[in-house]
Amino acid sequence: MEEFITACPRNCYSTCSFRVQVENNTISRIFPYPGNLATPEGPCIKGLSYIERTHSSDRIIHPLRRTSSGRFEKITADDALDIISDKLSRLKDLYGPESILWYRGSGMSGLVNDIGSSFWKSFGGATTTYGNLCWPAGLEAVRLTLGQVKHNVPWDLENAKTIIIWGKNPAETNIQEIAFISCAKEKGCKVIVIDPRRTPTSDKADMLLSPHPGTDGALALAIASVLIRENMVDRKFINDHVKGFDEFSDSLSISPEEGERITGIPAFNIHELAHIIAEGSPVSIIPGYGLQRHYNGGQTIRSILSLSIITGNLGKPGAGFNYANLQSYIFDDLMEPLSYYPDKEKDFPFRRTVSMTNLGRDMSSTSGPPLKGAWIERGNPILQSPDSGMVVKAFADLEFRVVVEQFLTDTAAIGDIILPAKDIFEQSDIIGSYWSPYVCYKPGITEPPGEVMPESEIYYHLAKRLGLSIDTSQLPEPGNGNIEKWLENRIRGYSNLTLSELKKGPVLAPGLQHIAYSDMKFETPSGKIELLSSEAARKWGISPLPEYIADDTEDKHYPLSLITPNAAGRIHSQFGNLNIIRTTLPEPAAELSPFDAKKRRIITGDRIRIRNSEGEIVTRARISGRVPRGIIVLPNGIWLSEGGGGNHLITGRFTDIGFGAAFHDTRVEVEKAE
């Protein structure tokens, strides 16, 4: 029996380190690794489920080809690679390399993913995507205002006197943060949750404010107006570090009473919250990503961030704006969100005509050359992209689709060839985190089952078949030893960071600020915190100041707001298919308030039809006192076979900045399905 330290590479805040025991090429146990101070108690249920996931009998471990009857048949890896290389070279000859869409999701992070980029460059290029479905509006908002996107180390939350969890649900999406919040609370910290729903996180709070979805920016600006009018701001901090305070102050037009009208939060409580913030220093605000998945998302984040700024709650222990902490993303030449829309020249030979947000529409309308083939890895766009109907059609219209997957997902099901994907224990890699400050090494510790090949090896064999010139420093030869060498090279030059050091356990990112911005240096054009950002206006055409723009999607035919958050048992569409998740956690369902359910004569367990002008889906209902009136909650990532597919109802709409997707501006009606 051997034991290794590894880390979870999913698209999740926590990026847990954990110890893993291996017996006869089988993962037998998973333990916490207390050396990672952000996740000392170990991974969540999804992390534990790797014991099942890695060895699941549902895993695809041989290449599959779709037959003319639509079923999949097992083929050898050699045959699969031959078919793919024939198709790729034919499409390249006929239409050029840009006729291939190279689609990458966020299913598994790591430096090794760069190897794909090397392959497609030597292929002559490809069409890739721009924007991001998750969080770019908020990232861009923070970047425009503070210059960088970072926050204090997670355990610094224990020093906060007030924690405002604004639209985040760490109990289900970042569970280790709960320990720090709980610890702060024991020391007397006040915990406030702002969320339309009564989340499990709110069960741990002193107070829950439930605004209408999409109105968080108005709530923030109303609080700001109270803070300024009652002179509860940090004048010294503002004078020293903030650009545009006077302009911001003059622009505030939302009074608490107006705030009440917009958000549904009584003016009295808006006053109260302003006082809590002013009198409860240090204040940590923890915004989530759901509240910026509105078309006004960027401005919402800028508005909430203004509260931390004008009260001087930045750069101090216990104070901060914890949107994302990219301090461990040290290897990227171009950091998020800028990497989502890089400079065209520098991005050559990639062509970015397809947005993540409008994937289907953009795929269909791309010309010169049009798209003819697609390569999908680490992603599930059929389920996760808005406007699913268009996405399904766009992929169906292609001549050839390759999907690299572990399970027969809704996206894998559209593949002409499915290549089995590696699991996390089957190749070494190095990963950062957007919450934890560690750089983690993830060792290759088991042999992949069947004919599973890591993408890097798939690309190597394909490059051989296609006769591309192979530079093994870019496209290493098969074998985990070669990947380790490649990694060693990749991280050369970063001080104190070597593979041998990383193998001992996670390493704090070089240059880490435990307390972000404690040096009061802001990499903005003015070198100050920019409440007034001319870059925002220039680049995105929005007001240079934080501003609330009311939602214009109201429609009396569709009175309910649909929100599609993440649920405890899955990361987007991953993990929900595993037995241990299915048997431990509640079945997925669409949740309705008792009020709205009664009005429509719906009870728990009913099959319901959710519909709007975009489309309709049928799923199961669950009545929940945690859901407020006027909202229906259908977690994203539920497979179509389980009654998911909320994205069929969601139109592809950009957020105001950052090319994100405004998932949560969706209105629907619900009825009992006969």
Binding site: C16, R29, I30, F31, P32, T39, E41, G42, P43, C44, I45, G47, L48, S49, I51, E52, A171, E172, I175, Q176, I178, A179, S182, K185, E186, R198, P200, T201, S202, D203, K204, A205, D206, M207, L208, L209, S210, G264, I265, P266, N269, A568, G569, I580, I581, T583, T584, L585, S593, P594, F595, I623, S624, G625, R626, P628, R629, G630
Partner: protein, 433 residues
């Protein structure tokens, strides 16, 4: 100093990691560790509380004491109360006896699975899998401190079994919600009563047929004749078959009488076997002395049947229930033999007990109707007996026995072994009032 699970409800968000870790470590088909969320319908006057609970390996282990097949034992090094699932007969009596819901029945394995404290790991100096896995630090395993009454979590029922568990966490007030008007609680979810008679049909049949057979026998004794052999034998055989139906592992039924020392259920089965053997011997030898011996055994058997439930119900709420088999059999005897005074005496006791319960049945329609008919049938058959109108015609006997059967069914509905979830939910209902 004793070791046990230490749980801080402040940190628990019901993520399920402990429960999953338990299954992954022990390869169960059900998880012996459950995370309960109290007030999941989020009624406003009570906080939402999470509790991760497996087995507390109580000093007074009722599961172990009550187990008829001696499947339970206490592991000597760690003190863990462990069930050997190769000995479990799947009778689920331990589920009635444990107020903390620790034994879990696996429909797939048809035996009980229960937390074994990962005692093999603990012996090796590790922690149980669940406490190792908890990602928020809510669940730990270690030396327990003696908690003062004021330090104990107020909502956790203490039943004097000395569980090896320490519950921590600040007392919580209900969440302040702004604006309250956006949320509607779903009170139906919590106020919904437990299903009427859940899978206990076989036990109803067994206990009713046993009481009836004893009553037939004693009636014969009183009347100075021998019971109809075929009818009498059928009653006993069917009673035995029905009791088998209740078991998850029927082929291990013989184990049920292995714990006469401490299990009321074992004693019941032991006496049933004795009674059956004795009954067969009457049919073979027709000796009056055997009739007397068997009748006495039968009466003891009925006391043992009732004791099974009284042991599990440690609030003694079924002690005075009118559906007890002993009383029922005595009433049957006086009815069958037509002896009026004892009939009136026993019927009065039982009617009083029923009417007293009728008061609290008003919220539960079906129960009210059943109890009403039960009383009516007893009165009708009593009048028929006293006035001799239609008595002893078969119709009246059927009416009378239907009333007795109804009472036995009501007994199972009213029989609610002490259970932490019910107790905490009662606190929530109280708070809402």
């Amino acid at each position: 100093m004793a070791e046990g699970f230490i749980f801080n409800h402040n940190n628990c968000v019901a993520c399920g990691a402990c429960s999953a870790a338990c299954v992954l470590e022990n390869k169960w088909t059900i998880s012996p560790r459950t995370v309960y969320t109290y007030n999941s319908p989020v009624l406003p006057a009570f906080p939402v509380l999470n509790l991760s609970l497996a087995c507390s390996h109580c000093k007074t282990a009722l599961c172990l004491e009550g187990c008829p097949s001696s499947a339970y034992y206490r592991e000597t090094v760690t003190g863990a109360v462990v069930i050997d699932d190769t000995k479990c007969i799947g009778c689920r009596y331990c589920q009635w006896n444990c107020p903390y819901d620790a034994p879990k029945y696996s429909p797939e394995d048809r035996v009980i699975g229960k937390c074994n404290l990962c005692y093999l790991r603990v012996k090796d100096g590790w922690m149980p899998a669940c406490s190792t896995a908890c990602p928020t630090g809510a669940l730990a395993y270690g030396s327990l401190i003696r908690q003062e009454a004021s330090e104990r979590v107020a909502w956790f029922p203490d039943k004097g079994l000395e569980p090896f568990v320490e519950l921590k966490g600040s007392s919580r007030s209900p969440l302040r919600i702004i604006p309250e008007s956006r949320f509607d609680p779903e009170p139906d979810l919590i106020l919904k009563k437990a299903a009427l008679i859940d899978k206990e049909w076989s036990l109803i049949a067994f206990s009713f047929l046993t009481a009836l057979s004893v009553a037939r026998l004693i009636s014969s004794l009183v009347e100075g004749n021998f019971p109809d052999p075929l009818q009498f034998l059928l009653l006993i055989v069917f009673a035995a078959l029905f009791s088998l139906l209740h078991l998850g592992k029927k082929n291990r039924a013989w184990r049920a009488a292995l714990n006469l020392r401490s299990s009321p259920l074992s004693r019941e089965i032991g006496l049933f076997i004795l009674y059956s053997v004795s009954a067969v011997s009457i049919l073979l030898y027709q000796l009056p002395v055997l009739l007397i011996v068997t009748s006495v055994t039968g009466l003891f058997l009925l006391i043992a049947v009732d004791a099974v439930y009284i042991f599990a119900d440690n609030r003694k709420a079924v002690f005075l229930h009118s559906g007890q088999t002993f009383l029922s059999a005595l009433l049957m005897v006086s009815f069958f033999t037509g002896i009026i005074l004892p009939f009136i005496f026993i019927a009065t006791i039982r009617l009083t007990a029923s009417v007293w319960r009728l008061k609290s049945d008003r919220t539960e329609h079906l129960k009210f109707v059943m109890r009403f008919f039960r009383c009516a049938l007893l009165i009708i058959s009593g009048i028929s007996m006293i006035t001799k109108i239609s008595y002893p015609e078969t119709g009246v006997i059927i009416l009378f026995l239907s009333g007795e059967l109804l009472d036995r069914m009501l007994f199972y509905i009213d029989f609610k072994p002490l259970n932490i979830n019910r107790l905490i939910n009662n606190q929530i209902i109280e708070a809402e009032k």
